[in-house]
Symmetry: D3
């Protein structure tokens, strides 16, 4: 049975969130949504409600998502052949067509989930309003098909959506000068959008606990690094494959004016709220050299 004391403790929790709410009011937060948090239904609902709360208390969230394993599933379903160049899958026209369909499906699914919790959202791709302009990305000089690198973010549509109190949900597809569709790495897209929008925060929902000095020793989890430290760490040669481009993205984002980048463990329920409304950091935060919180 809930007693009055229980209820008052709950009220205290709300009060504790006060300074965090005040600090980030009106600020833009880009959430890169991916990994387990996109697969597990409970986690998915938890992320969506976390974003809803961020929105309601005054933050201005933008969601960027990837396609995870769904693209592969549908490519297989369609019985498409897959070619590799330098170990990378080539995105030919047919694959791109399927990728675009799957990403848009996921995109509108997230929109529905946001609407369901009462938050008006709009799902767009980087092609809408020419938001993401790309050029072909080569892999060691070789053409791997419709894989794009962002040249320019046109922020106009995003600004209008935010201005009108809507949450943009973005799938990482862009267009080149000929208006062909290109697949973009979702981490890259989130980073470029956070930089272009002058976001206060960029959070990556991942399937890891954060960055380790030495991945085999759990106790070496880094909870905070300055951008200089991150660059040294990158230069050290000890950063593993998947983490390297992500950390490089973090460095770029901070240098473009994003105040803080978070690599969060998306498998922990409410990791966004824990990070933003409490002193319990979950994961690794990359901060500017001169930042003092």
């Amino acid at each position: 049975m809930e007693t009055l004391e229980n209820w008052q403790e709950k009220a205290e929790v709300l009060i504790e969130a006060l300074p965090y709410i005040q600090r980030f009011r009106g600020k833009i937060i880009v959430v890169k949504y991916g990994g387990s948090a996109m697969v597990d239904h409970e986690l998915k609902k938890s992320v969506i409600r976390d974003v809803a709360l961020l929105k309601l208390v005054g933050f201005r969230p933008i969601i960027v998502h990837g396609g995870g394993k769904e693209i592969t599933k549908w490519v297989n379903k369609a019985g498409l052949e897959t070619n590799f160049v330098n170990g990378l899958r080539v995105t030919d026209k047919d694959t791109m067509e399927i990728a675009e369909m799957v990403l848009n499906k996921i995109n509108k699914g997230l929109v529905s989930m946001m609407e369901k919790v009462g938050i008006h959202a709009v799902g767009i791709s980087g092609k809408d309003g020419t938001t993401l302009r790309v050029e072909k990305k080569l892999s060691k000089g070789q053409d791997i098909g419709f894989v794009g690198e962002i040249k320019e973010v046109n922020t106009r549509l995003l600004e209008e959506l935010l201005e009108n109190d809507l949450v943009p949900v973005i799938c990482p597809i862009g267009s080149d000068d000929e208006y062909h569709s290109y697949n973009i790495n979702a981490d890259d897209a989130a980073c470029a959008i956070a930089s272009a929008m002058g976001a206060a925060k960029l959070a990556f929902l991942t399937d890891i606990e954060g960055v380790y000095e030495d991945p085999v020793r759990k106790e070496t989890l880094i909870s905070r690094m300055t951008v200089s430290e991150t660059e040294k760490f990158l230069a050290s040669g000890h950063v593993g494959g998947g983490m390297l481009p992500k950390l490089q993205n973090c460095v770029d984002a901070i240098k473009s004016g994003v105040s803080r980048v978070h690599i969060l463990d998306g498998r922990i329920e409410h990791c966004l709220l824990l990070e933003f409304f409490t002193d319990k950091g979950v994961g690794t935060a990359i901060i500017a050299d001169n930042e003092e919180e």
Copy 2:
């Protein structure tokens, strides 16, 4: 070789468009895009450029499109079984998933084509901003799956996009109170949107020349009908299967305040411009009883 006279004739054509431009300046025009105009590449480019011109001279176009034969193609590709109820295909969860993917692909493709001619467009489904709220549509009382009937159009997002000088491109998917996705007949969606937005015009791009009193006698093509005449015609029992719901939509739209509905032959290049900027009507216009142009 072009002579000065040729050029001056061209200028005269522009001048002839003057009164039409003046009449519809700032007016909303909903274009239901479908049929051959969605398949033939030249026609597709022609429609897009027509809409671009309408936009540039001051109209505010909204495009609503269907999925044509592409959905069937992809359903087959995915090897899905198809069930029928009262002769109508049942849209089960898997079919709906594919339908949504295909419609979004077409949607973003149209956006790209608009952007290519320099017009900023945004592709949304009726789920974005809960624009189209639906309830399940039964076929003679029987459940045929995720086929929706529009209960409410929330115009807020569309108004914002128009306000910001963007062309909305809408695919006919809506959500019910549980935020599940439903397929909507594109003609119905166009009609509901035109009514809710107070459009001045609603144009259906079709694969027929217009409405015939007697379809087998080409000379009985009706170029203009009042809404009363249309209702009488509908009551006469002579209206064929495909045309019946479309004409009913026309009647509904006019009664909701749309000034004029056009059933255009989308196979004729520039049919939109011919209809709106010249005295050459192409197809059948349904007008209000008291309208005098």
Copy 3:
């Protein structure tokens, strides 16, 4: 030691507040601040922080306060004589002067407390911008001095302050047509302001647990009454002295369009948050007859 589970429970509390925040977003809430909550320092800080949180999550609070026992203290300090008419203290010119000084001091003290928690507040009296126009209030036909009854609320200044994201803190002094100062009952002022501003809620912080059917039997605490029930209850003749005008105020407020009036026990910490963000009602709510939450 706080474990991850503790933190996640806290996050759950925030998530639970979601539907409440959504429901009242942008709504005006008038808080009549008085009684113990004005004396006990810890309670005072708790009320202020509750209001701050209400403000930050999107409510638009207005505080109306009385002078409590401070006026008496200062009147005594100044060695003023006190006259009574029908058992009511006469507010002569000197008493009014002191009352005004004391109320303004309390007013600016509340402003400081709000500013201290980071919320911009502005302390005004009903004389500023001629917000509260009064006429002399007689006690059974007898003049009891500068005691005013509100004739008109000029909402312009309050609207401007709210529009500019400021919290108005109002002391219950008004001016008559000759611009003399009059003391106003703070409950009356709160009720008149809530009505004129179209507030969604009006909350009285009191020193009682709520309204009892029978005050000597604690178990008869009424947690919710419709306005009709309240009127019947008032007509029953069982309502005690202090509660009668307050309940009458509640009835008037509901009839003027305020959706809900709360008589809260200000001695319970966070009573505002408990009432507005949880299902734990503390005190008595008066609701419109047709209201269904």
Copy 4:
């Protein structure tokens, strides 16, 4: 008889105008209206409709006109004597009075013609809102009366008219510091206004085909010159009397930020449309050195 093909050709003409419309949308275009285009009734109507079309498709035109031969006609009618200094007519007080009356009559006549084609226009002189401030212009040091040189353009009134979707029609009269009226050369006025308003284009409607390298050899018509080439040409000493100040004006305008100046043959119907909406240039264009179209 017009066939469907004819109509489709017309539509193609509209489509051809698309890129031109896009390029100049929202841009200010100053049209110096004079010469035959002001006398021949058909040409006059053609110019007005051209300007109307420019307006409707999104340009923001400003018309500056002179008085042509009308002033002389009315001066003669009034039986005024004419004095000359250095071969220039002296504008004494009486002549100025008549000039002002005639210019205002022409001004309001143009306004009527614009209104007739459905474009809201406002006829002002440079005295309204102190738009054109002048000082006396001397001819080789000698006073020739109320002939003014523009010192300052106050753009406020013009900006307001454009902002309110109105076409300003301006007659070249200004006021000095004592608020006396002065006649201004209409070419100078058009140039000063185009510069001050940051016009994208300035077009002079003249009675010549354009600028010739050698006026006696029609084949030497120059269709495009950079501003440097124009300056060299001016320095060459080969530029004839009437053309010299006009070309100097063109150079000044380009240097003040006008992108392009056109000397058009106003005797050719629709010369404005031909120049702005087709690739058929009519006359001579002066462009900035670094311009690449």
Copy 5:
């Protein structure tokens, strides 16, 4: 020599104006400018400065002027023949042309005078922005040429000018559906404009002291009449030729919502200020039946 007391008396005069300024702040006042006040240079300057002061203290004046005797002078100068119908001069095309020129000259002269005292003014005719739409006015069924009767006042341009802090100076020329120019009686124009603009006051500057019950007995000057009294007076048959249509205009204006109409003696310096800022009425005021000042 001015003493401190003299200066303080001056300050008192300003203070006396306080309640008048307060009452009419932001109100529109239409001044029909005519008669001696347009001829005598000192009076002219006095009127202009009065209007400037009205403007500066917060009124929004609109000036409507006639052409007085100048039109006749210029018609004679041009040696035009004059025809009469029912004793009224026929305004043929040539006469209208001259009238329009003269009116525009006077118009821009008033603009200059306003600008000279630092008030930004814009001189327009009723043709600008199609402000005054007229139809031909017949004299006992006979055509007397380009004499117009106002059918409609399009207030858009006037509202924009007022909005932008400019004083409109209007000459009474309108256009018919074919956009021909028509001369309008200036009193009629002032009355129609005051009605359409919802003016608080309409003041006629005349050459008489006001309305007399019996013109031969100066002591019968009426200083105030209600609209009913005015109608009775008009019905009495005692109202002389020139005054009759003016009084009829006054009645119409009051009935269209103008609060008060003043027939002022324009020969008295500062008659506008005397009327609006002091208790010294000069002339006759027509007020609504229910008005109590």
Copy 6:
């Protein structure tokens, strides 16, 4: 008896004010209200009406007031002890409490007087909206209690009030970083506010005739000094006690961008109007070195 001539003379007075009104339209004027002008009832009414007139003709006045002798009166009434440090009274907590009450009483009294003459005013202290942030001011290194020195003026609330056409009436209380109340010298507060708001004028109402070169020789009254001259004068060592900080304030204000500071004799009725609307200066004006009026 008032004759027409009398009235016309009055009108001339209004006209004489024209250029002054024009010069200061929309400009901010800070009036430091103190001394006799706060005690004598007639003078008080005269000041208030002067400010009302300034407001109505377009100035934007801000009033800053002190507490004069009232604070001392109430401190005595409350029987508080007074301690001195370096000859300065120590403002302990109790004294500060009384000072704040008295200042707020005076503040709301001024608001009432403004409202009475029809001007909407809002009485605030420097604590509202954290308008005045202070730090403790020491007297030769010694703590003299709650006496504050302004560190920062937050102009947001003042700007909003002015924007909304309200006259701010400010009492000189500020808050430190802990949000304690501090008394501020009213002259300092007026100066800091004038500087921060970019006031055009700052006027001190004093009980002296102005600044004298030699106070014992009345004929040495200085009517105008440049800021350099004032600094030299301050450096000369001839400036008496009370005047020294005031002149230093004047110098600081001018250097912060206030165009002109006036030390006026508040005992002369309408001294504000005399100074601002006539050539009769009353008191001493401090002007910038490069100012030429």
